[in-house]
């Protein structure tokens, strides 16, 4: 089994499924092929997680093949404890995307599922790549299906949103490309581990410039303040599955980039930018929360809350404390679970009512108690309710922030309080009160397929809230090694 290219298979299985979908091209068959493919991908990724040796910091399941020998670039795959949880999450969320699109997507279905499956390949490949070149390839590959998902299957403003997303992302990745070329020219390799070993040959000034170049790409993806404005548009216009992929995985790619590229390879650059990064993170948390408070569109509200929540992630990473970084990674997973679930919830009710305006709702709890319970659960999880997953992430991040500079932690706590406020308001306006007249006659309660789509996320939120070691145990060793390299 040791020679079995498990990572390559996990990565490209969805791509093969996409090809099959396009070839067979029949609408009803397409969703079944997509479902089987995504389930199979998760099936392959489970033994990956289980047989992973958590005590080692070296990459595992490594595959290296010659690719462009003249440039010393290889096709390299390999995972450590940081990437494993993301691969699992990506595999899981894509299944749920198929589940929520089952009846919602009615036009060009085979193309839709093909795009979805290609994006899964890009996501998993990105987390499995062991060199910067392959990382970049998957990074760019991700943009194409996402652009299509928003631009073809999106809402009324989809073209503006898709173009905005594309331009923002490409503007960022052009600079990453420049950074990559510079790194290649200076160090002669693009392998992550080799680059980390060669980091001392990079002068501090160089590192700062390189950090800035990569920051452009990563900050857009996270998104960090002030380059976040593509996100509300993209989320609002994207179909539910698109929003789930965006919130669940795509936003994590930027933060993952910091962990994979900036921290290990450019420690001096990190030190040079440390304070600005911390400040921007806290601004994102608080400012994002304030902006969220007055949103009137459910999807826009969750999108802005993502800005605030991702601020926690970058804050945690740049505390450079063990607890802060572990908390940040856990919080990336948590946010992937919760915001994906919230977008699923909104998408499910939108499919019935065709409105996302909060004021068109009210009293949903009376007619759809199971839906109301699900929404309440995920709002609580998002608000950092203790016993659920986000709480652990926030505690670890804020604990790390307190150790760095306590005012950072205090501001973050303020963000938590604002977070409760907008989520309680959302819940209050949608679920409580008198049943809105416009909702009469609609069957709002969830069906079995939709409940089955949400239940895995409920289970994960509870499980990670009560026993976070499930994820944290993967992180202890690699994060410790990562930080040992960054600390001056």
């Amino acid at each position: 089994m040791s020679d079995f290219p498990v990572l390559t298979v996990t990565t490209f299985l969805p791509m093969a499924g996409a090809a099959l979908v396009m070839l067979l091209g029949r609408d009803r068959l397409a969703r079944w092929i997509a479902l089987v493919t995504t389930l199979a991908t998760l099936g392959v990724s489970v033994p990956l997680c289980l047989s992973f040796d958590k005590s080692k910091s070296a990459l595992q399941f490594v595959e290296v093949h010659e690719w462009i020998p003249s440039w010393n670039i290889a096709y390299g795959m390999g995972v450590d404890g940081i990437s494993i949880p993301f691969i699992f999450l990506a595999a899981l969320l894509t299944i749920l995307c198929v589940g929520v699109s089952w009846t919602a997507v009615r036009t060009r279905t085979s193309e839709f599922y093909a795009a979805l499956l290609v994006s899964e390949t890009a996501m998993i490949g990105l987390f499995a790549a062991s060199n910067l070149f392959l990382f970049f390839v998957f990074w760019e590959l991700m943009v194409i299906p996402m652009f299509l998902l928003i631009g073809v299957w999106g809402g009324p403003g989809r073209v503006y949103a898709a173009v905005k997303f594309l331009i923002f992302t490409l503007a960022g990745s052009v600079l990453m490309l420049v950074g990559m070329i510079v790194l290649h020219n200076t160090c002669g390799t693009l392998d992550f581990k080799a680059l980390a070993a060669a980091k001392d040959s990079l002068p501090a000034a160089h590192q700062a410039w390189l950090f800035a170049a990569f920051l452009a790409a990563f900050a857009v993806k996270v998104p960090m303040f002030p380059v976040h404005t593509w996100l509300p548009n993209a989320h609002t216009e994207a179909p539910t599955a698109g929003s789930v992929i965006l919130a669940g995985i795509l936003l994590k790619m930027g933060a993952y980039g910091f962990l994979r590229v900036s921290l290990p390879i450019l420690p001096e650059g990190v030190q040079a930018f440390l304070l600005p990064m911390l400040v921007i993170s806290v601004v994102a948390i608080v400012y994002g929360a304030y902006v969220t408070l007055v949103q009137t569109d459910m999807k826009r509200l969750i999108a802005f809350s993502s800005v605030s929540h991702m601020g926690f992630v970058t804050l945690g990473i740049f505390t450079l404390e063990q607890s802060g970084v572990e908390g940040a990674i856990l919080q990336m997973i948590n946010h992937g679970i919760i915001s994906a679930a919230l977008f699923l919830c909104v998408g499910m009710i939108y499919e019935r009512t065709h409105t996302r305006e909060i004021k068109d709702y009210g009293g949903v709890g009376k007619v759809a108690p199971i839906y109301a319970t699900m929404l309440a659960f995920f709002c609580l999880a998002s608000a950092g309710f203790p016993g659920l997953n986000s709480f652990i992430g926030e505690v670890l991040i804020i604990g790390g922030a307190f150790k760095t500079q306590s005012w950072l932690g205090a501001m973050a706590v303020w963000g938590v309080a604002l977070g409760t406020t907008y989520l309680v308001w959302l819940y209050y306006r949608v679920v409580m009160g008198k049943t809105n007249e416009g909702l009469r006659g609609l069957k709002l309660e969830l069906n079995a397929r939709e409940i089955a789509t949400l239940v895995p996320l409920v289970a994960l939120a509870v499980c990670l809230g009560l026993y976070p070691e499930v994820v944290l145990s993967y992180l202890h060793v690699p994060v410790a090694e990562l930080l040992a390299g960054v600390k001056p």
Partner: protein
């Protein structure tokens, strides 16, 4: 019994899950079963607590490691020691009675299975709060009870134009503001001490810098003011009466609102390090007690009167904590749980019998219609008023006496505030009793037919009335028992091992028993006089209805308006907290849309405009190209010429 502690929260949790399943998928026939399951779950939890309590040892149970990163290690651990055991006994005991009462009270509600699921979850969360061995585990319960309180206040969210839902929201957010301070305090302690377990913090508390200790204590105290409805975060509690009445009795009188006091007792070793924080606690407690008592004087809604009274009584408990009289605070928690739960359930029985009427001005003469409710309500009111030898008398007197004796300056001033509050309390209690039960009916008998409530409601009333009468036995002062020999004040003695007081409060002689029994007796005499005067005042003024007092009110119109308007604190909040929040949020959203995103769109449209302009250069006319070529040549020539010169 050590391995059974986890069952105290887990049994109600399991009950809640069953009730939820019944609510979602069971038929209407199963709904009645839900209530019985819920009551049985809490009853069993009570039995386990009682067994552990009688065992008398401090027990610990570690389930598993919850969070372990770096130096932070938090096990999911429960501790049942005298303090938490005593609290758990109150919570599960009173909780059980209120479950039984709810079986009758909620019998006609369509969603009663949901109600019992919430109620059971509340008991589970409250048990976690009490039994948790560290601040984060306590915080699970802390947030849990806040959530259940939110859901239960808003239980009838579509009634009264959504007033209950709004009240629930207000409660949740006010609580969350307090929780913010709790979290900050916790992080501060973790940063300084590297541990957040109570045992761990207690051993390393000496390392704490006094100034940090003050900050940590004040932050924890702000957290406590949120949950326990003290100034300035008390505003949610009076509105919380929008929930079903048994909920008001259980959550907003007997148990949840005492969580703040419990937390202060649990962390008494920290407060011992900071006299400043202690003083703040005492002053806030005393001022809240007086402030809320004045509001209670002029309310018309029976549940609002009781709610303000609760705020006021909680103020007493904080006053006790602030002067270091923790066991007196816990004593008052217990007696208050009995008599205030009794009063709320009595109020529920009245409202039930009056078909939903809550305005005391439209009651009167009810004693003839509801004899059991009348007698039990009278007993509860006597306790609240501190009538001699009732439970409320002993606990209130204990607090006042220890306040007067404490080293906290200004002790006599604090005592004075407490004493005036006691007078007002006795007065409004008997205003309430007189307006409700005495005099002639002020409702239209043809429309309203008051009737006594069913057995499942009256039996808990009788049990609670019994407890309220004899509950004072838990803390009989030593000097009263002196003739019988050296019998220590039971609760004081019992809680002693787990409470750290900054200074011995009451002067003791060499053998450790208290001195100056004469002084203590004198204070007890004062307390009795105060109670009796207040009771007589309330009775005389209101026994024939509100008219006699109306004359008095007319003379003090501005003061009455101020008090009846609740000092207009809600309006002040609206103006100084909510409005700025809304303005700031709107400003941020505007900034985001027009400045940040405006810049993005601006860059976009600018480059498009530039492109359009440059594209115009290529208009396809040969003459234009020739012109531009000539111009370019001229410029280059010009540069060359300039350089040559």
């Amino acid at each position: 019994m050590q391995d059974m502690i986890f069952l105290i929260p887990c049994l109600p949790l399991g009950g809640a899950l069953l009730c939820a399943l019944i609510y979602a998928w069971g038929g209407s026939g199963l709904q009645d079963l839900a209530g019985k399951i819920a009551a049985a779950a809490v009853g069993t939890a009570f039995a386990i607590t009682l067994a552990d309590f009688i065992g008398g040892e401090s027990l610990h149970q570690e389930l598993f490691t919850w969070i372990a990163v770096d130096t932070l290690e938090i096990p999911l651990e429960f501790t049942l020691d005298p303090l938490s055991g005593f609290m758990a006994l109150i919570v599960t005991g009173v909780g059980f009675l209120i479950h039984v009462y709810s079986l009758g009270y909620m019998a006609d509600d369509d969603a009663r299975a949901k109600y019992f699921a919430y109620l059971n979850l509340f008991i589970a969360a409250m048990s976690v709060l009490i039994l948790g061995s560290s601040l984060p585990v306590m915080f699970i319960g802390w947030e849990g009870v806040g959530l259940m309180s939110y859901l239960l206040i808003g239980f009838w969210y579509d009634k009264d134009d959504g007033r209950p839902a709004k009240a629930g929201q207000k409660a949740f957010i006010a609580n969350r503001v307090g929780d913010l301070a709790f979290l900050l305090g916790m992080f501060l302690l973790f940063t300084e001490l590297d541990t957040v377990s109570f045992a761990g913090m207690q051993t390393s508390a000496d390392k704490l810098d006094p100034e940090i200790a003050t900050w940590a204590c004040l932050l924890l105290f702000v957290g406590a003011t949120g949950k326990s409805a003290q100034l300035p975060l008390y505003v949610w509690l009076p509105d919380a009466t929008a929930g079903p009445t048994p909920v008001s009795a259980l959550i907003h009188a007997a148990t949840m609102v005492t969580a703040g006091i419990y937390m202060l007792c649990r962390t008494s070793f920290l407060f011992a390090l900071s006299p400043t924080a202690m003083l703040v606690v005492a002053v806030v407690g005393a001022v809240t007690a007086l402030f809320a008592a004045t509001i209670a004087l002029a309310q018309r809604d029976i549940k609002k009167i009781l709610a303000y009274s609760t705020v006021s009584q909680l103020g007493y408990m904080f006053l006790a904590c602030g002067v270091g009289a923790y066991s007196a605070a816990i004593f008052h928690v217990a007696t208050h749980a009995f008599f205030k739960a009794l009063l709320f359930l009595g109020a529920g029985s009245i409202i039930h019998g009056m078909h939903g009427e809550q305005d005391v001005m439209r009651m009167g003469g009810l004693r003839k219609f509801m004899p059991v409710t009348w007698i039990t309500f009278l007993i509860g009111s006597l306790c609240l008023a501190g009538f001699p030898l009732t439970s409320g008398f002993f606990s209130t007197d204990e607090i006042l006496w220890e306040t007067a004796m404490a080293g906290t300056q200004p002790a006599l001033l604090l005592w004075g505030v407490g004493a005036i509050t006691a007078l007002l309390t006795a007065f409004y209690s008997f205003r309430l009793v007189s307006l409700t039960f005495l005099g002639e009916p002020r409702f239209v008998p043809a429309e309203v037919h008051p009737h006594e409530s069913p057995k499942s409601m009256t039996v808990p009333l009788v049990i609670l009335a019994g407890l309220a009468l004899v509950g004072g036995a838990l803390g009989l002062p030593e000097h009263l028992l002196e003739p019988l020999g050296h019998i220590p004040n039971w609760i004081h003695h019992y809680l002693e091992p787990v409470i750290t007081s900054a200074h011995p409060l009451v002067p003791t002689d060499g053998d450790g028993h208290t001195m100056s029994t004469a002084a203590e007796g004198l204070f007890m005499f004062y307390s009795s006089i105060i109670a009796v005067v207040g009771i007589l005042g309330g009775y005389m003024l209101f026994q024939r209805g509100p008219d006699r007092a109306g004359v008095l009110v007319a003379k003090m119109r501005p003061l009455h308006t101020l008090v009846a308007g609740k000092w207009f604190v809600d309006e002040i909040y609206e103006l100084f907290v909510l409005a700025p929040l809304a303005i700031l949020a709107r400003a941020a959203a505007w900034f985001d849309l027009h400045i940040v995103d405006g810049l993005v769109n601006g860059v976009g449209s600018m480059s498009r405009r530039c492109a359009h302009k440059t594209a115009r250069l290529h208009d396809g006319h040969l003459q234009t190209y020739a012109l531009w070529m000539a111009a370019g040549t001229a410029i280059i020539l010009g540069i060359v010429v300039v350089q040559l010169l």
